[in-house]
Symmetry: C2
Subunit: 214 residues, 2 copies
Amino acid sequence: MIKLMKKRLTRQESRAQTREKLLEAAAKIIARHGLAGTSIEDIAETAGFSRGAFHANFKSKDELFLTLVEKQMKATIFEIDELHAVTDSVEEKLQNLRTVYPRYTGSDRDTFLLITEAQMYALRNPRFGKKLRALFSTIYDDLIQSVERLQEQMGCKDPVYAKQLVLIGFGLSHGLILHNLMDPERYPDSMVSDSMRLVFDKIFSLEEMSLGIH
Amino acid sequence: MIKLMKKRLTRQESRAQTREKLLEAAAKIIARHGLAGTSIEDIAETAGFSRGAFHANFKSKDELFLTLVEKQMKATIFEIDELHAVTDSVEEKLQNLRTVYPRYTGSDRDTFLLITEAQMYALRNPRFGKKLRALFSTIYDDLIQSVERLQEQMGCKDPVYAKQLVLIGFGLSHGLILHNLMDPERYPDSMVSDSMRLVFDKIFSLEEMSLGIH
DNA sequence: ACACTCAGATACGTTACTGCATCTGAGTGT
DNA sequence: ACACTCAGATGCAGTAACGTATCTGAGTGT
């Protein structure tokens, strides 16, 4: 867009830029064709480079993929933190809590596919699995703390339960979005958000009523 | 095992047997390495044959994969139907309903991986997506009917809600199992079943209390 | 402005997969 | 038992992908 100012880039800038373009292209293509179904050449070509550029920036496809997933997750963490900072009232926090999950699970189709692809890959490669688990833990622990704080504010506290609550949130969100993408006519967006709301309202009414006994 | 009786097979039998072995091998390997990460040669070799055997039995990897998924789903449908037939009391039906989802979503690791792989593939190939959607519909409609009958028995009926309920069941189950496989220490089996129970109890208590108004 | 350096392109050799064509031997009909 | 057929093995050629090595030209130091 603002291509007119693209004069005279320093070497570092240039390198960083192609790296970025490669990552961007990879995100798109891997989401569409899967990791194994994507060749290095595909990525490089889509980014507008040759394979040489790829090898100059990444050791292997795996390395690029890990970088990519990390970047994506960090971005999500940032988004979530930002959202959390704004909240004030209990109702708002509850509201946000419901919307946070889908945001992480993948706000758009490509993000969802990418993250799920990463999870599938993790289930097959123990080494990658370990790294991905660490990344997820960051997000989850963050959210668990939020939930605990919220519970405290609501007058009940049970860490085990908070953990389980977050699991339900993420699990449900993931499953619902998958169904939505698989069959949007049968499971429209509205049905997904309704289901999310339904479960959360019920779970939290349990909170209020029985003080977190599960 | 009972290899001693493996004398004199008729041609049809022999063919069917290798076909079966190929499918079996494919299920294992595709679960472990993904569809794109599995070569025809891998499948044939694992089954104890050469590539020739593969091509004599299947046109392409895609055809084999579809056959495989169909077979898996049909087996699941059978299992579920069987389970349904046994039920008598409302409590038992409710109980079963909770256990049905994980069974379909993938009782063992490989089954889960295979089905999820199929879903990922479906999201990328419209043609395959259509077929998979049809397969899923069979299971889902079946279950929706069961839920409706159960609701009727419990004195409330709302078809939209039944559909949503099934969506929640399958979605949650899928997400929970994924988390369990990704990080069994953090999300042990017990936590998965507890979460499943928690949500279902709450949802169905809603049923009882508000007669299905959502 | 001149030599230097490094990001990225091009060229090459190697490996792996696929589909097709051909071959072989075990089941089959007479 | 003899000729036949077809399941499955083997051989071959074409393609796609990878990693490495070498080349080129645009940023950089003096």
